[in-house]
């Protein structure tokens, strides 16, 4: 009710404006729009700005008054407060930034109001006027509520899994081939990615999306389907419980393990290893530049024993692409070094398999400076642990710069083992290798030493691949991380405790002897 009232007030304040103040606001809104928005959204507000073709999703077209984030009933216009909120907060997972730190509140209000001028007719249409949703306070998200939500999510009553998949990773049966109201491809949201929720992953935001739907997208309103708002709250509680967040640590702690290291990703031993969920972004350093990677996060864990080290990589991918044509992608002609997003899943480009790669410096000697983060350089090459879903093959390679072709290490040095599973839109992969390489080409994993690593990932159905072009230059349409560090946390051997004890006894004994001698002298 409070939220509703706030919206009502915001809406009232917006529509009540008239006279010179309104005119000033309109001029301000127009100026802000031209300065800040038109580059993406276009002079005409039709979402066709100069950079629109390189963005996925494309910038919003304002000429139909359709907005994703609405607090109004499905089929009615959003509240002006919704527009203000979107401009202020931005839309995660898209190119729309949060403007609240750049524009003043007055400027944001003015530009939100100005957006309406691109479809004045609809905004003036009383028959589709905003009908605010009553959100209210969320109930406590206890286990029972979450369990009820899970039941709805997977069961007959809501069937969310049809699109969002069993585990909520956006990989349901109907996920492939979806389009929005502008015939642009899009996929059901991966609900485990808390950082990608367009309108927020808190229960109130999810309840609002469930009730209103997401206009212009395949996400329908569940108000008719679940008329009891307790059900929508339960669903919101469950969905919210799925949302994870990215790690902000930069050092991965590899845990010591007794006995042979696990060779499979589902081994319970992994529970003892801390996980970092690391962000990846598109490779935009070297042309062709790729700003729409599908894999934006990889979970990493590491375990080690006296001989071996093992990494467990976990990442979400809606489609299991295991065939690779080996063909170079057709790059758009023209001067832009950025590649436009693929139009359709696996149909407008050759088949590419899914791949992942761990990057380490080829050597740790030579000071603290790490190799250049995109495949190093001739002076400071990198070692790669690469896994390809085509053939499920793991290889160790060396590369000396992003544009140099990677070279497989000699067979004698191929000591990398890998085992992967793919289920419910998720890969789980275990890499393992002796800590001290036989060929001396790679780094040794010594305990206590911070070892830099980075991750590269390819989603085949998103048109991602690396190849060497006719001129012999390596090209990369892929997702990549920055450098992180892994530290094999030194295991404290029992002898450490023994020597400590000996030292304490020795010191105490020495003191006693000294004290006795001094006393005797006195």
């Amino acid at each position: 009710v409070l939220l509703g009232a706030t919206l009502w007030l915001a809406g009232g304040a917006g529509s009540a404006q008239a006279g010179p103040a309104a005119q000033a606001d309109e001029a301000l809104g127009e100026r802000i729009y031209a300065e800040r928005c038109a580059f993406c959204h276009g002079d005409q507000g039709d979402g066709n700005g100069p950079v629109a073709d390189y963005l996925a999703p494309r910038p919003r077209d304002f000429t139909g008054a359709v907005f994703k984030l609405s607090s109004s009933a499905n089929g009615t216009l959003p509240a002006e407060a919704d527009l203000i909120g979107t401009v202020a907060e931005g839309i995660p997972g898209t190119a729309m930034p949060a403007w609240k730190d750049i524009l003043t509140e007055e400027e944001i209000r003015a530009v939100a109001a100005y957006l309406k001028s691109f479809d004045a007719e609809d905004w003036a249409d009383e028959s589709i006027a905003a009908q605010p949703i009553q959100v209210g306070q969320p109930p406590r998200a206890d286990e029972a509520l979450i369990a009820r939500g899970r039941e709805l999510f997977a069961g007959q009553e809501a069937q969310c899994i049809k699109c969002h998949g069993q585990a909520g990773r956006g990989d349901g049966e109907s996920a492939a081939g979806m389009t929005d109201d502008w015939d642009q491809p899009l996929y059901p949201a991966n609900l485990t990615k808390g950082w990608r929720y367009k309108g927020g992953s808190d229960m109130q935001a999810i309840y609002t999306r469930l009730t209103s739907g997401v206009a212009g997208s395949p996400m329908p309103s569940y108000q008719d389907a679940l008329p009891d708002d307790a059900d929508r709250w339960a669903l919101a509680a469950y969905v919210s419980s799925l949302a994870r967040q990215l790690s902000d640590e930069a050092v991965l702690e590899a845990a010591a393990h007794d006995g042979p290291l696990p060779t499979t990703a589902d081994d319970p031993a992994w529970a003892a290893a801390p996980q970092l969920l690391l962000p990846l972004s598109g490779q935009v350093v070297f042309p062709p530049r790729w700003q729409n990677p599908a894999i934006d996060a990889v979970g990493v864990q590491a375990l080690y024993n006296e001989e071996d080290v093992a990494f467990r990589l976990v990442w979400d991918d809606r489609f299991h692409d295991t065939e690779d044509s080996g063909a170079a992608p057709a790059l758009p002609a023209g001067t832009s070094t950025y590649v436009a997003p693929v139009a359709e899943h696996m149909t407008d480009h050759p088949a590419y398999s899914d791949k992942i790669e761990l990057q380490f410096p080829a050597q740790l000697e030579g000071g603290v400076e790490r190799p250049y983060f995109v495949y190093g350089s001739a002076a400071k090459p990198v070692s790669l642990w690469r896994w390809d879903s085509a053939g499920e093959e793991a290889r160790e390679l060396t590369q000396a710069g992003a544009q140099a072709a990677a070279a497989a290490q000699p067979e004698a040095g191929q000591q990398l083992a890998a085992a992967a599973t793919y289920q419910d839109g998720q890969y789980q992969l275990v890499f393992s290798r002796p800590r001290r390489p036989a060929d001396g080409q790679d780094i040794a994993f010594e305990a206590g030493v911070p070892i830099p690593f980075a991750i590269h990932a390819w989603d085949g159905s998103n048109g991602e691949t690396s190849w060497v072009d006719e001129a012999g230059t390596a090209r990369h349409l892929m997702a990549m991380s920055a450098w992180y560090h892994v530290v094999l946390k030194p295991e404290t051997p029992a002898t450490v405790f023994l020597w400590t004890l000996v030292a304490i006894v020795a010191v105490a004994g020495g003191e006693w002897w000294l004290a006795r001698r001094l006393r005797r002298r006195a």
């Binding site: 009232a5 009502w8 589709i128 009553e157 809501a158 329908p220 309103s221 008719d224 008329p227 009891d228």
Partner: protein
């Protein structure tokens, strides 16, 4: 100082009242009822104000005719329903799209015939009788339908599978509702005339229907005999249009005299090969 404080307090009180008012008003509406309100429910005339028909039955005429087809009709695209066994089981043969349905007598089904102009300023009563759009066997029934502005559209899910009803109009406001359970019904209205509005289901991308929305009752969809009839037309000069999803639109001028019955036939040609 005191005055400012009083003013501020009054203002706060007023705001509080307004906020409470807003809250209770909407708060008393049960969610179930609110669900019924769709795009532009307000467009339907309030009960008790149903307009009288402006047509004098004594002089009203009729336009009727047939929509025929010549040549070889294109094959309808097969539908892969293997992902929905409950729907697939309803078909003896493998299901296909209903894009082009030619009857055995050479007439065409699912052609939408309507009066595009000639009615002037006449306004017509809005039927309270709903038009039903049924989802059955993971297809829409009917495939093409007409409805008046403000007339209720009752959307029914006869399938035991999830559908979402997602029309994509250009004149009207789009809506998108989920119907996960068998037997579920939703009622919606359109507020503006629009020929045609494509309707689809994002869960089953093969599902397709077309809705023609008009401000008057002079429209018809051809069936198994390819014929149509537009009765109760006031005398006048009309532009008649036939629409077909594959073959496009055709226009014909018709003059209807008092109590006259006019024939207007249309003909589409497929490939002659």
């Amino acid at each position: 100082m005191m005055r400012t404080a009083t003013l501020g307090l009054t203002l706060l009180l007023l705001l509080g009242l307004a906020a409470c008012g807003g809250g209770t008003e909407s708060g008393t509406t049960p969610a179930g009822e609110a669900a019924e309100s769709g795009a532009g429910e307000e467009a339907a005339p309030p009960a008790g104000e149903v307009a009288e028909s402006p047509v004098d039955p004594a002089t009203a005429g009729t336009v009727s005719g047939k929509v025929s087809f010549s040549g070889t009709p294109p094959e309808n695209e097969p539908i892969d329903m293997s992902g929905e066994p409950d729907c697939a089981a309803q078909y003896a043969d493998s299901p296909a799209q209903e894009t082009v349905l030619v009857n055995s007598d050479g007439t065409l089904q699912n052609a939408f015939v309507y009066v595009k102009s000639g009615l002037g300023d006449l306004t017509f009563p809005v039927p309270s009788e709903p038009v039903v759009l049924d989802q059955s066997g993971c297809r829409y029934h009917p495939h093409v339908l007409g409805i008046q502005v403000g007339q209720p559209l009752e959307i029914v899910n006869s399938d035991p599978v999830l559908h979402n009803i997602h029309p994509q109009p250009t004149e009207n406001r789009a809506f998108n509702v989920s119907q996960p359970t068998q037997g579920m019904k939703s009622t919606k209205t359109f507020t503006k005339p629009e020929v045609m509005i494509p309707v689809g289901c994002d869960v089953h991308d093969w599902m397709s229907a077309h809705i023609g929305v008009l401000e008057h009752p002079y429209f018809a969809v051809t069936g198994e005999d390819g014929s149509f009839s537009l009765p109760n037309l006031p005398p006048g000069d009309y532009t008649l249009v036939v629409w077909h999803e594959q073959f496009g639109e055709q226009e014909e001028q018709v003059t209807v005299g008092p109590s006259e019955t006019k024939t207007a036939d249309f003909s589409y040609a497929g490939s002659t090969g």
